[in-house]
Each structure stands twice: as structure tokens, then as C-alpha cells.
Subunit: 336 residues, 4 copies
């Protein structure tokens, strides 16, 4: 049985997911495309899915009787409405991050899904599908004992002028927020932000680097360096310290060379390469669950918790080093 998928939003990521469904993964077929620019949707269709029907409105795509499941890849501000529509239609829905642009919006999706009574939504937190994080979680669950601390870094070579201080949370650190909740199976209770000496490579509206300290309900302290103008490369580091020992996220595979008096490996500079393989696994998981009429992986609740935590971190950016409390609402049974 082939899952008939409609894709809303045919920009970079929407186009890439269409290619993935058409040319890489088994079990799905893109039968419908929509974009705020119908020409863009038509162009992607012509390239990758010639039989797909083009819809002017995402809502019509969602409602189409031959669409079994929906991918929401449009701009963030439109996510909430599309996801709510998919839930209303009872159709499995993969939504790129953010689930909604506000915690309240994410909460409305959670409420709708809970009312529906069955999971339909998967949020695009792809790191949970990265082979390195999956292996790290296994090591933490089986070898290193009760987790006590996490030391992490999220580094990017450079960002443009329009990238301002809060974006380090919403666009960058949000990945750590989700993946560490999953890795530790824990919730956050406080956030603190510290600003070291700024790099001269940053600009006026961006304090860079910053160090975010999250504390979990179980007391784990997670210290993450966010450094988006680090110059040298795109680099994601993570060490979990448990009662018995430590485990590190592996480096991406690279060729070790001895050249010119240096023992050397390349470091990636483009974030798009770092987790590229995990997108395949993520959508594979979506296809499998959606074919059974439900959703797996990162849930609407996870999207909501990420939004709540982001808000606390942004508040903490202006709290002069003080800890900001994070209040966790009761978790509905659907997500237990």
C-alpha cells in the first residue's frame, strides 16, 4: 500500500522532502502540492512529481479525498492553521519546526489532538533520528549510569545581519532543547543565560556567543555553548556525564589525512550536511506510522514543550544571569 502524501510549502525543505518521498523512500507517493506561490509548486511538481495535483490553497489540499497524509513545510506562521486543519480532517501530519510560532499556538494543537483522541502529528525534530544521537541515547541508557550533567556546544561558522539574539534560541538552540528532553527522558525546570565576551565577528544586534544552562526535573544540569559566528565550522558537540562515566556524541565521519605537517580531518561548514541522513529516517518513520493512520516520533506535546522552553530561554537572555523558572503543564495521557 502506497501512502498518498500532500506537501504544503515547496521551498527548500518542501522540495527536498518531495524528492525524498519520490526518489529515495519506499511506500509513499506525492499526489498533491501547494505553495503560496502556485508557480513554485508547479515547478517542483514538474521536476519531481509530474502526476501531483497543484492546489492554490493548503486547506484544499488537506481536504482532498486522495490525500492520506500531509507534510507542512510552509513558513512558520502558517503551521498552526494547517496542522489544526489536518487534525480536523483526521489525517496524519508531519510539521516542520516550529509547530507554532507561540507556546499558546502549540497548546491549541495539543488540545485539538487530545480531543481527537489519537496521535496524528509528528514535529520535524530530525536529530532524534540521527544515528549518532540514537547511539548516544543507547549508551546513556545502558552504560553511563544516572545522567548528572550534559556539556554541549552548537557552533555555526557565521550568520547574516538579520540574525538577532533571540534567534539563537528559536532557530538554533531549539534543536538541543528537544533532543536533550528525549535523550534524558526528562523535563526542564529552569533556564539561565550567560554572555561571555562577545566575538568581534558578531554584529550589534547579536550577542554571540552565549551559554544556556538548563536544569531538568531530575536535577541534570545541561550547559550549552551557542556560538553562531565561530568561524571554523558547523560543529555539534555533546558529552553526557553519568554516575558511571561519560559518553560523547560521535564526530561526523571524515577522512583522516597526514598532509603538510598536519594530522587533519575536514569539519563541515554547512549545517544542511550535518543531519542530512536523519531526514530520510525521520520521514520513513512518518510514512510507517501514517500508513497505519497515526503518528510517531516527536509529538505535538514535544513541540509545545520546546516552545515553552524557548520562551523561558529568551526571557533569561534579558535576566542578567538569573535563572528563569520553567513551569511544565500536566502531560496529557495521550503523550505518556
Amino acid at each position: 500500500m502506497t501512502l498518498r502524501v500532500g506537501v504544503i510549502g515547496t521551498g527548500m525543505i518542501g522540495r527536498d522532502h518531495t524528492r525524498r518521498l519520490q526518489q529515495v523512500l519506499a511506500g509513499a507517493q506525492v499526489v498533491a502540492l501547494s505553495d503560496y506561490s502556485p508557480d513554485a509548486a508547479r515547478a517542483v511538481g514538474a521536476d519531481l512529481a509530474p502526476d501531483a495535483k497543484i492546489y492554490d490553497k493548503g486547506e484544499d489540499l488537506i481536504a482532498a479525498s486522495d490525500v492520506d497524509a500531509v507534510l507542512v513545510c510552509s513558513t512558520g506562521a502558517t503551521h498552526e492553521a494547517y496542522v489544526l486543519a489536518a487534525i480536523a480532517a483526521g489525517k496524519p501530519c508531519f510539521c516542520e519546526k516550529p509547530l507554532a510560532t507561540t507556546a499558546d499556538g502549540a497548546k491549541r494543537i495539543v488540545d485539538a489532538e487530545v480531543a481527537h483522541g489519537k496521535r496524528l502529528v509528528q514535529v520535524g525534530f530530525m536529530r532524534r533520528y540521527d544515528a549518532g544521537y540514537v547511539a548516544l541515547k543507547s549508551a546513556v541508557d545502558t552504560h553511563t549510569g544516572a545522567p548528572l550533567m550534559v556539556h554541549a556546544a552548537h557552533r555555526n561558522p557565521a550568520v547574516p545581519e538579520q540574525y538577532v539574539t533571540p534567534m539563537a534560541i528559536h532557530d538554533t538552540f531549539v534543536h538541543e532543547i528537544d533532543v536533550f528532553r528525549w535523550l534524558l527522558d526528562d523535563d526542564y525546570v529552569s533556564a539561565r543565560v550567560t554572555f561571555p565576551r562577545a566575538t568581534s565577528a558578531s554584529h550589534a544586534a547579536l550577542r554571540d556567543p552565549q551559554i544556556v544552562t538548563l536544569t531538568t526535573a531530575k536535577g541534570v544540569v545541561i550547559t550549552t555553548e551557542i556560538f553562531v559566528n565561530c568561524k571554523y565550522g558547523y560543529d555539534i558537540q555533546c558529552q553526557v556525564v553519568g554516575e558511571e562515566g561519560t559518553a560523547n556524541l560521535p564526530e561526523p565521519q571524515a577522512i583522516t589525512m597526514r598532509l603538510g605537517a598536519k594530522l587533519q580531518n575536514d569539519i563541515m561548514t554547512d549545517w544542511k550536511e550535518r543531519f542530512v541522513a536523519s531526514y530520510d529516517v525521520e520521514l520513513q518513520d512518518f510514512i510507517k506510522a501514517a500508513t497505519a493512520g497515526t503518528a510517531a516520533g516527536p509529538s505535538a506535546w514535544d513541540g509545545y514543550m520546546a516552545a515553552v522552553t524557548c520562551d523561558a530561554c529568551v526571557t533569561a537572555q534579558d535576566a542578567d544571569g538569573a535563572a528563569v523558572t520553567i513551569t511544565n503543564p500536566a502531560r496529557p495521557a495521550l503523550y505518556s
Copy 2:
């Protein structure tokens, strides 16, 4: 357009490739299955390809009008006949190694394909599709200068009693034979085998370890340790030494842990895990080429050259350390 594939041989690898085509890769569908035990074929069909037709004879599967391409996964002794039949039928054919059990048999396939005038055969040398070897080839082509030497090791934790000395060539070293021809874009001119002190973990009919030295037409000397009772793990090592520097095949990704006074990574012990991802890429390549009516990747010529080289290495095992000359026949234009 979906490629309609028939699979001959539904043992371990045939079953796994069927799963791959049905559940993992895009663009193909298994429509026919055959095995010397029709019940085995039926069982695989029931599990993985319920719509596939079961054939008692592989020849009939190859001839079936709704089969576009063939996978030969049966026992080695049957490969030659099936591949020749596929060529005769003008159908793309993926053949697990060995292409034939003798160099003469492989030569007959080459002759048939040359007579046909177009490539139809891909041999299952999956290492060429391993991300590590692909990256190594890129490093060698662009950074380390003219290759002069390769230092390699092929280690396996243990082998059963029926594994005898020549199998270290035909079943084990054959992978290095093919992948180094490809990596260096070169041909072999001589082989030498040396036997170090034998491990006490081996048995009477197996001299283990052994060191095979291949010399190429360009003069590159490749020294490979073959050690199939090394106890500690399945481990494939390779360093290319060029005029400008060296490049190493990367280690498989693993979690580095600090535990019990040791900094440690797991090493694999099961060969089936080591190149598992490359099977996906290999078949993807086959689907793509076969959909266009031809074949890519390791060719019948490569399979023939591997057979010729294996024969020389086995001769060298009995030559008391002397070098055995490898004569390379002229390469047909089809494979240039």
C-alpha cells in the same frame, strides 16, 4: 515508473535485498521470486512481497515478460548460467559475488555482454558504495598525490572449521581485490603471499594470518593482512600513502565512552553490520541504471578481473613467498 524486479535465490542475502526493494528504496517492486526450494521463495513472498509470482525455475523468472530486471542471489555455482540467461534476454542483472566460480566462467559472461554491446551486469561488490571508501577515494584523488602504497587489514573474529586457506582469498580478500582496483584505478601485475607465525586460534586446514602483497601496473604496492581468527572484532583497515601524504579509511561511527579506567569505543564483531548501509546505495544505483535499461557500478569485467586475481593469489599461497605474475587480458572498449 517502477522497475519490476525478479529475485533468484531467497536465502539470507536474497531475502534481505527483497526487503530493501519493497520497504526501503524507491522505484522498484519485486514481482517475481525463485529459489531451488520453492517453499523458501513462497515464504519470503508471503512476508515481503505478497504480489510476487513464484517461479520454480530461475530461467522462467528471467524470461517472464513482466520482469524488467533480475537479482541473482542464489548459490555461487549457479550464477554464471543465470547471468548469461539475463544477458540473452537483454535484461539488467545484479549478481552477487562471485560473478562465476572460475575465471573462465566470468570470461564467458564478459564475452556475452560484449557481444550484446551494452552493459547489463552489476556485480555485488558493495564496498564501492560504502561512504567511507567513497570519501577515501575522493581524498586520494584530490589530496594525497600519486599513490605509492596501500597498507590494509581485513580481520574477522573467528571462522568455522570448514573455512580453509584458499577461502581467505575467495571469500574474504576478494573484497579488497575489487575495491583497491577501483580506489586506485589500476590493475594488478603480481601477487605474493607470506605466512607469519600462525595464531593458536586457527585450525589444521587454515593458515592464519596471511599477508598478501599485490603490485599494480603503476607500481603501487598493496600489503594486506588477512586475519580471520583475530578474536577481537571485525575490522577493516586501510591507509593509502601518496606522494603528498596519507589518507585512512574512517573507523565506523561509535560512541566514545569513559568507563572503568578506559577510554573506549565498541568495535563491531559481525561483518554483516559493517557495510550494511552500502547495500542500500548499491541497489539504488542498480535501480537507477536498470530503469534506463543498462547497468552501472562494478561490471562483469571487474568480476572477471577479481576472479583472475583470486586465482593468482591462491597460486601464490603455495609458492613459498615467491611472486606470481598476473596477466591482464586486453580490456574491451565496453568497459573503458
Copy 3:
């Protein structure tokens, strides 16, 4: 010319330094020994320095006309008086840490040395002489750009019951305090202590692990995990993050083995091994400067600044995560 040295305190470290001067290093000779237990001094003399005179009182040793320089290796509470006596006698003096048990005591030594007008005191912060830290400082000074952050860890497998929370600062973290001031050529302006979930391997009077955050005058944020019941080994980690890149303290040299399905290196478990080579270099430096009538390396000022910083960190341990300000007195010209 051979430097004639008197050693006060012949316990573990005093005995070891006596051996070093007598049997390992060039240019010095131990001519006098003293201990609160004269029998202990005699025993060390008999073993290692048979010609050394035994003094009942350290003050008499310092005053002896044939003693050119003094090593203070006695219990911490006695350091201040002996060092002041050495300054009064105008003799170069190597003092094991702490320089004094209080910041005020260290200040009195600074004042005495400043009044004397020439450096005579070297404090036993041996890490500055470790080849790894020396190479790290060189990398930071020349390659990684302006330092912005330091991520560090000081881990010890286990501590006894009498080790209580403040000792994590005075006995353990004091080494990081000194070595990072030197590494960054900077002063501290604030300290914060956070307590993650405690390890079950600790005991009632010790909160373990703890995370100390120091901020420097230039704005560098140094985050150090102190974990003295980490079980797995004695492990000192440090990464400096600068505007251009990062540099790591090297791991101690170890043999990489492939054994039993693990790629593995030993990790030390005994702190005494980790910096053992640096004691030789440290005393070599003392001999050289003392032979010229002065002192080099970590100064009384460095010892004082370490004491001031330790006090702030201990205060911060009880400040519930708030930052504690560190006030730096004006640096006398002698130490500029």
C-alpha cells in the same frame, strides 16, 4: 655551582622533592632536612641525602648559613611562617600550595616580598610546567584568537569521607584557578557555583558534582565541572574557545589497543601520576632562578590571587546559584 637546599617537611611530597633534587635534577644538593617528626627527617636523610643535617626547627634550617634556598613541604598551616622567615633571611623559597591557609596570610607574604624588593617565592602550582598546558598556552596565544570561553572538567574517581564540599575548591579546583589565570593572562571578577543532581557515590557532607563558573576581567567565561567521585578515572579536561577556533588540553599518552571488541586506551586513576613529569620541570625552574638569587614561575601574588578566588568560590557554594563578585587588589609592580 651547586645550590644547597634545605627541605622543611619530609612527608610524601617533601620526600619526593628530596629524591628529585638528589637523584634526578642537576645543580642542587639537599644539605638540610627538617620535620615536626625529626625521626621522619632522619629516615629520609638516611635514604636519600646521607650528608644532610637534620634540624628540629624549620626556622633554624632557614637560618643556617650553608642553606642557599628552602623548600616548604610541611603541613599547610605552617607555610606562612616559614615563607616569611625565608623572605626575612633573603633566601629563595619554594612553597607547596597553599601559600597560606587564608587570603590575609598570603597577603602578608606578598607585602613582605614587596618590602624586600625582589622575588624570592615560587608557589607549587605545577600545572604551569606540564607539557600539555604549555603547548595549550602556545596554541591559544598564536592560533585560536581572543579567548571567549573555557570548558573544563576536573574528575577524580573517589574521595574519602573527610572530603567535604569546600575542599572541592581548596584542594581540587585551586589548580584550575591558578592555571587558567596563567593560561589566559587574566583576572577573575566573579564566581558562581551550581549543583547538579548529586551522584549516589558521594556522601552526606559532600555535594558532588558541582559546576563552577568564573568570569574574567576580559569577559572570558570558564565553566568547570568538579566531580570527585566520578568513578571512572582521574581526568583533567580543558577546551579553550577563541574567536578563530578551539584548542584542547591533550590526553595523557596511552597505548591504543584493540581487544575484546573494544578500541581502548587506559585512563589514569591516580592523580599522582597525571602531572608527575611537571614536578621535575617546576623544581628545575626553581633551581635555576634560586641559583641566581631570585624566584620565577608562580609567584606569591599568584598564591594570593588563588586564595582570594578560592574564598569567593566557597562563598558562592552557599549563594544558591548567585554570582559572587571577586575584588582584585592592585597588583604591585614587583609582579607585573
Copy 4:
């Protein structure tokens, strides 16, 4: 008690050993210097050992009643005569490699020492004192099981025009010859040399690289790449493969940096840095044994065996890939 040492030959290494004895190590004093250029000896004396007496003839230095022990650091052709003179005088003698320029010459020294009845000679094979090789030997003796193979490389960035093919054995590989005999506690029975494609960085009188294969009495096969124009650095690699696993010689300590899209360590380019610390340990061992009137470490027998093995390897360079037998004379009891 201070050992009174006379140094013959005050070129680069003689000067450096004089500095070592005078300024670094305990227990020795340079009281006599000699060089074929007395002015050179006087200059070294003025710099490093002002009280040393200058001798025009090394024989007179050896005979001097206030000289307890001798260092032979003169040009290789003079070693045999000086060492024989030291033995005749009954004085401990440290001789830089080679012990003699011919195997016969080395044999005469062995015979003289055996006739004397006590070890007096230490040969300057410093690698046995390198911390990395010492740790490797310990790992091999205790963890990796019976040794079966060694894979090694000796690489140097570039050599001058006067460096010709046999020098790759006598000046370069001789270090591996000695250190592997010691590491494996074994003797060589055959040598084979293979020449891969030559690097374009070499010159007419030097075939570079070359691969030397030594087989030991116990059957261990040692494959060593010698590549003296490898361009990228001075690099000594060694992996021992035993029945239970493998152990590698550690890389020299280096700072890992992340800079400019590369994870990188410096590799040394100057061979003089690689084993610099081992010279200290080597001479410390000489001082200790010589003070007791004898010698330890690499013996005259080891020097003789190295010479015999070098001769076989040079013969093998012209044997077109054939193995050359190495005949081991009976080992005198003095060296058992």
C-alpha cells in the same frame, strides 16, 4: 658520588650530551673533552664544562685516571677503536650508533667485552628509552597475546642528495631493527626488500620508498615502510598484532585544534624532536650502571646483531624481492 665522564667527539650529539650531563641529569660531571678539532672541544668546554680538561687524543682521555666513564660521540669510523680502548681500560663506555662500521668490527668489540667478562658498553639506541615504546612493550607483554605481525612506518619529510639507497637501512631503518628485536625479544632470520613506485620527490641514487619485511625466529613478520621523502612530516608508526589484539605506538603529544574547517594536530617535521626526551632517560641509565662499574641497556651484542641485520637488508635491496637469510651466531652467556 659523582661519575666523572669524558666525552669524545663534541659535534652536535656530543655537545648535546655534554649539556645533558652538566645541566639536566643528576650524578655525573663532564671532566674531559676531546675532538679531532681541539678548538671545537675547547668551545664546548667553555660553554658547558669550564672545568673539563681538553685532550687532543681520545685515547689519552680514555686513559686519564680521573675519567670514570666515556661517551663516544665521534664520527662512526672511529667508534670501534675508542670502544676497544675503553674496554681495555675497564671503563664503562656509551657509544653512539653505529657500534662499528662493519659487522666484523662489532664482533671484535663483543669478543673483547666477553673476554673482559663484564658488560661495559651501552649502544645509543635511544628508542628503547622512549616512553611510547616502553608502554607499547608493556602492552604487548601483558595484553595482546603472542605477537604475530608488526606493521611499521618510518617517514621523513626529505633527505639531501647524498642520501643513497643503502642509507635507508644503515641510518634510518637501523632504529627499527634494534627496537623490534627488543620489543619482541626475538632474533631475525630473513629480510626481504620491495620497491614500490618511486616518489617523484626522490633523486636518481635513492629508491624511495621501500618496504622491508623481516621475519623473526618465532615467525613474526615485520613489515616496515621506509619513506624518507614523504613530504608531510617525520612520522614513526608501529602496530603490533598479537593473538588477542593489537597495540599501537602512541602519537607524540599534540594540541588538537579546530580551525578553518579542520580538526587538526601538528605533526613534527624534525627528527631531532621526536625522541629528544629519550636521550635523557638513556644517559640516566648509563650514569646509574656506570657508577656501579658496568653497563645496561642496548649491549654490544645488540649493536652487533643490528650490524648483521643491516648487512642482510642491504643485500636484500639488490635481490629483486627475494628473501635473504640472516644467520645468527651463538649468543655469548654475557648477553643472555
